[in-house]
């Protein structure tokens, strides 16, 4: 059975989504358990594949038993096995932590929410494992459409935010599709490995150059890099909390992964980094992205919007680190895909819990949060420390590699941007912690602060959050192993 994991990991959530949609009419109570079991199975399969890759190297799966350029092939290697495991874990933990919120937010439609959730996950897993450029587009659309629906069902202005998300997302996906079309035009193939074999013969072909730029622009749009980020803050802040903590860790990170995959495994490495003068502008774009998003985050007055901008800055980390073009920076970028997914999940889960219990997430509502919801705030502190980059949380280690890579590449601007963003993050998070810790002030100096009602979330919500928070530290401590066993093998040897 384990040989079929590459297909099953995508097909099982997909089929489960259909079954959930049917069960919603027949036996509504069975939907949630089915979804949880399916996602747990996916995580198990992903971990199994990661193990297999680490032990015995990459392997392929030929769907319909057609050899690769003729049919569609899935290629499991170190890079996608790692990202897949991370994303599967995120999806599972998020569902476990937020199903209560979902029940409250979606009421009668909660079962369809589970179905869309599963479809979203199926699409994301597929994007990660696929080895076919066009197949990736189809999966991308599954993810996107279910994402649009999930975002659109939020509160207040969610519909408009979601429609803007559709526009930007469709342009992004269309650009990617057009890029693939250009590549198909000059190579005649859609298989990534096959493309990588043919493309080295086509240096200097303007079509390839145009394909690269168009596809990258599309991906930048999808991952919300700075000037193309317009859709993200609204989409994330207007959606309801279970959706936010699903989409925020998965979408942008998956797109960064696709960028890595395309630039390393579809285009030849020396084309992406040598032939085309793309790396340098991309790093500068990332620097702008980090600085601008950090500054914009400072001016937000609600927690989720602030986090949304922090997220845009984090995208800048990954893009910049990747386009540094050296092994250390790339390691940092890939590591940060995993770490940032975990961090974002952790932060948004805490925000979701705060929002559920305090019914508001403006900064004002957070007054006294440390006393009212100590566990949730503890989780938020861990997430915040990780985003600031404090050891031993995982955020420190990816930042370590990113800055190290920037030093090795002599990109001082990127070093500066990373340090700047860390400091801004410290300001951002401690501003929140201060409100939660100090306010409301005691009536007199040195007096006891006023008593507040204890309003902690139920244990079923807290437990997955604590697991995530612990995961941040564990991931940080495992950095060495992840890098030497997995990421080192994921980066082509051509990159020094």
């Amino acid at each position: 059975m384990s040989a079929h994991f590459p297909a099953l990991i995508v097909v099982s959530p997909l089929m489960a989504a259909m079954v959930v949609a049917i069960l919603a009419w027949v036996r509504p109570g069975a939907c949630l358990p089915l979804a949880v079991v399916t996602l747990a199975g996916s995580l198990w399969a992903a971990a199994g594949m990661l193990w297999r890759v680490v032990v015995s190297g990459p392997f392929a799966y030929h769907l319909g038993n057609w050899p690769p350029p003729i049919g569609i092939a899935y290629q499991i290697d170190h890079l996608n096995a790692l990202v897949l495991t991370a994303m599967a874990a995120v999806a599972l933990v998020n569902l476990l932590a937020t199903w209560r919120h979902a029940r409250r937010d979606f009421a009668e439609r909660v079962n369809y929410f589970y179905a869309l959730y599963l479809l979203f996950c199926a699409g994301t897993y597929g994007i990660i494992v696929t080895g076919d450029a066009f197949n990736l587009f189809v999966l991308l659309e599954i993810t996107s459409i279910s994402g649009y629906a999930l975002v659109g069902m939020g509160k207040r202005d969610a519909a408009l935010a979601s429609l803007n998300y559709i526009f930007m997302g469709t342009i992004g996906a269309s650009f990617y599709l057009l890029g693939v079309g250009y590549l198909y035009l000059v190579t005649g193939t859609l298989n990534m490995a096959d493309l990588a074999m043919i493309l080295p013969r086509l240096y200097g072909n303007k079509v390839v150059t145009a394909a690269f730029i168009i596809a990258m622009t599309g991906l930048f749009m999808k991952m919300a890099l700075f000037p193309l980020h317009g859709w993200l803050p609204n989409a994330y802040s207007e959606s309801s909390s279970p959706v936010r903590s699903l989409i925020a860790p998965l979408t942008t990170k998956t797109m960064v992964y696709v960028m890595v995959r395309v630039a390393l495994y579809v285009f030849p490495v020396d084309f992406s980094f040598g032939h085309l003068a793309f790396a340098q502008p991309a790093v500068w774009l990332a620097v702008t992205s980090i600085v601008a998003a950090s500054l914009m985050a400072l001016s937000q007055t609600s927690l989720k919007r602030m986090l949304a901008y922090v997220l845009i800055a984090e995208v800048g980390y990954m893009v910049g680190g990747f386009w540094l073009g050296n092994r250390m920076g790339m390691t940092g970028a890939i590591l940060h895909i995993v770490n940032d997914a975990a961090m974002t999940l952790c932060a948004f889960l805490a925000v979701g819990s705060l929002r559920q219990q305090l019914a508001d997430d403006s900064f004002k509502a957070l007054r006294g949060a440390f006393r009212r919801m100590p566990w949730t705030m503890a989780v938020l502190v861990v997430a915040g420390l990780s985003m600031i980059g404090v050891p031993p949380t995982c955020g420190f280690f990816s930042k370590w590699y990113l800055i190290g890579g920037a030093l090795a590449a002599g990109q001082w601007a990127f070093v500066g941007a990373l340090i700047f963003s860390s400091l801004i993050n410290a300001v951002l998070f401690f501003r929140i912690f201060e409100i939660g810790f100090f306010e409301p002030f005691a009536a007199s100096d040195h007096g006891h602060p006023p008593d507040l009602a204890y309003a902690e979330a139920p244990a079923t919500v807290i437990a997955p959050m604590l697991v995530t928070a612990a995961g941040l530290v564990v991931l940080g401590l495992l950095t060495g192993r992840i890098v030497t066993r997995i990421i080192d093998a994921a980066i082509p040897a051509a990159i020094l």
Binding site: L385, I388, G389, V390, P391, P392, F397, W400, I403, G404, L407, A408, V415, I419, S422, L423, A426, F430, E434, F437, F438, F441, A442, D445, H446, G447, H448, P449, G476, L477, T479, G480, R481, V483, T484, D488
Partner: protein, 493 residues
């Protein structure tokens, strides 16, 4: 020299991390404080048990986890680290006693949080002391920053918030803005972060780059409170006195200077610094801080603020000693970590005791207080003597070594700095004692002849004052360690 692999350093840190039992027993204060004592005693016991091995010239090592391909979170107990750990852990026991008296005496809120984070801070402090490489040191350094934040801002009022902000601004700004990049540059240049006796940077970078790095480290470890990165320390005095006593006279600030000493000796190496004459630069910065801080201390009326500025000056003695790079100066610097700790903690304890007993914070209100609190003020006197550096107190020993060191290094200027500042020390401490005993009390508050603070607040300063005196006559444990460390640093092995 031989290296032993042992889990003891980790045990010492874990001993302090007794948060779950402290939190679990939050409903029963006695049990909670018993756990704290247990942790403090266990930690001291574990650390003391490593003493014979280190005296015998061994190093104890333990690698916890390989976090990066070439860098791990690892512990190494050498003479310098053990000296610092010994000071911190022994004083924690005393401080725990004192905290119980102080916190209960003032009926402070959130005492469970207080004791938990106190233990957490000590774990981080010992972690810094036992770090085998710069990354581990940085890890515990940051852990300490965050663990002390709730302690500094314990009162949760507007003033505490402002102080907390300042505290984090300096500490985090320094560590993230300066130390982190500096550390990465070191890693980039050398590929390692291990502390080693001869330094790791020799021959890896040009003079200008090394100077920049050194400056980044010295200022970046803002806990060392080298001017102009000092102003968090007076601000942090809003904390309850046990916090000020242990953390801002011993743990936090000493972690700062300890880190500077470690970096100077373990990363740069004395040879490299001598060669580039970088020592003078650091020594000059430290001298300016010493003199300026002493002058400012003269003008402070708040007792704790005056002590804070005194601390700033005294810390720079240690930096100065390390920067002079001569054997006696290094020994003196390391010794000063211990000697100053005992002296200064006595002073803080006394300040706290006065506050608990009378509610007074300002020196101008303390005329004649010696007649009301004779024991406390006697301890204060001894502590002051030790910090000034007069016999028969431990402070004399370390200052003596520093003076000799300055002569050895043939830097007469710094000799004068030490002497002038000692006179200034005397000038801001002795009048307090004089006023306390020889001025008549002005207020009706002092009608009753003798009324000391609660027992738990009086005993600890007496103990530490006695220890200060004892260290003059029997400085062996620390002196031996400091000499070992110096020999090791200068490549004696």
């Amino acid at each position: 020299m031989n290296t032993l692999i042992t889990v003891k350093p980790l045990l010492a840190i874990l001993a302090a991390l007794c948060l779950p039992p402290i939190l679990a027993s939050s409903r029963s204060p006695n049990a909670r404080e018993a756990w704290t004592f247990g942790a403090a005693l266990t930690m001291f016991g574990v650390i003391a048990s490593m003493l014979p091995a280190v005296w015998g010239g061994a190093r104890l090592e333990y690698t916890l986890v390989q976090v990066l391909p070439t860098v791990s979170i690892a512990f190494r107990v050498d003479a310098l680290g053990l000296l610092f750990a010994l000071v911190s852990s022994s004083l924690w026991i005393v401080t725990s006693l004192y905290s119980v008296g102080y916190m209960r005496g003032l009926k402070e809120h959130a005492q469970t949080r207080f004791f938990s984070f106190f233990a957490f801070s000590l774990a981080a402090t010992v972690g810094v002391a036992f770090s085998a490489n710069l990354l581990t040191l940085y890890l515990f350094y940051e852990m300490l920053s965050f663990a002390t934040y709730p302690l500094v801002t314990h009162h949760q009022d507007r003033e505490a918030r402002a102080s907390g902000r300042k505290y984090l601004l300096y500490i985090l700004g320094g560590s993230i803005g300066l130390v982190l990049p500096a550390m990465l540059i070191v890693y980039h240049l050398t590929g390692t972060l291990e502390f080693s006796a001869g330094g790791i940077l020799a021959g890896k970078a040009g003079a200008a780059q090394l100077t920049a790095l050194l400056v980044m480290f010295v200022f970046g470890f803002a806990k060392a409170a080298v001017m102009p990165f000092h102003s968090w320390l007076p601000a942090a005095m809003v904390a309850p006195t046990p916090v000020s006593a242990l953390l801002h006279a011993v743990a936090v600030v000493k972690v700062g200077v300890f880190s500077v000493v470690r970096v100077v000796t373990g990363i740069f190496g004395t040879g490299l610094l001598t060669e580039l004459n970088l020592g003078t630069l650091v020594a000059t910065i430290a001298s300016v801080t010493i003199v300026a801080a002493s002058l400012i201390a003269l003008s402070q009326d708040g007792l704790k603020r005056r002590l804070a500025f005194s601390t700033i000056g005294q810390l720079s003695y240690i930096v100065l000693g390390a920067a002079l790079l001569s054997p006696s100066a290094l020994t003196g610097a390391m010794l000063h970590i211990a000697m100053h700790a005992f002296g200064k903690i006595t002073l803080f304890f006394c300040a706290g005791a006065i506050f608990v007993a009378t509610g007074k914070k300002f020196i101008s209100e303390m005329k004649g207080i010696g007649w009301r609190m004779p024991l406390t003020m006697s301890a204060f006197f001894i502590g002051a003597l030790s910090v000034i550096g007069l016999p028969p107190c431990g402070g004399f020993i370390s200052k003596w070594h520093l003076v000799i060191g300055a002569l050895e290094a043939d830097r007469i200027v710094f000799l004068w700095v030490i002497l002038v500042s000692s006179i200034l020390n005397a000038a801001y401490f002795l009048p307090i004692v004089y006023q306390a005993f020889f001025c008549s009390p002005e207020e009706a508050l002092f009608e009753r002849r003798v009324q000391e603070a609660p027992r738990w607040c009086v005993v600890p300063p007496l103990v530490t004052a006695a220890a200060s005196v004892a260290l003059f006559f029997y400085p062996q444990p620390f002196l031996q360690l400091a000499r070992l460390a110096t020999r090791h640093v200068l490549g004696g092995f």
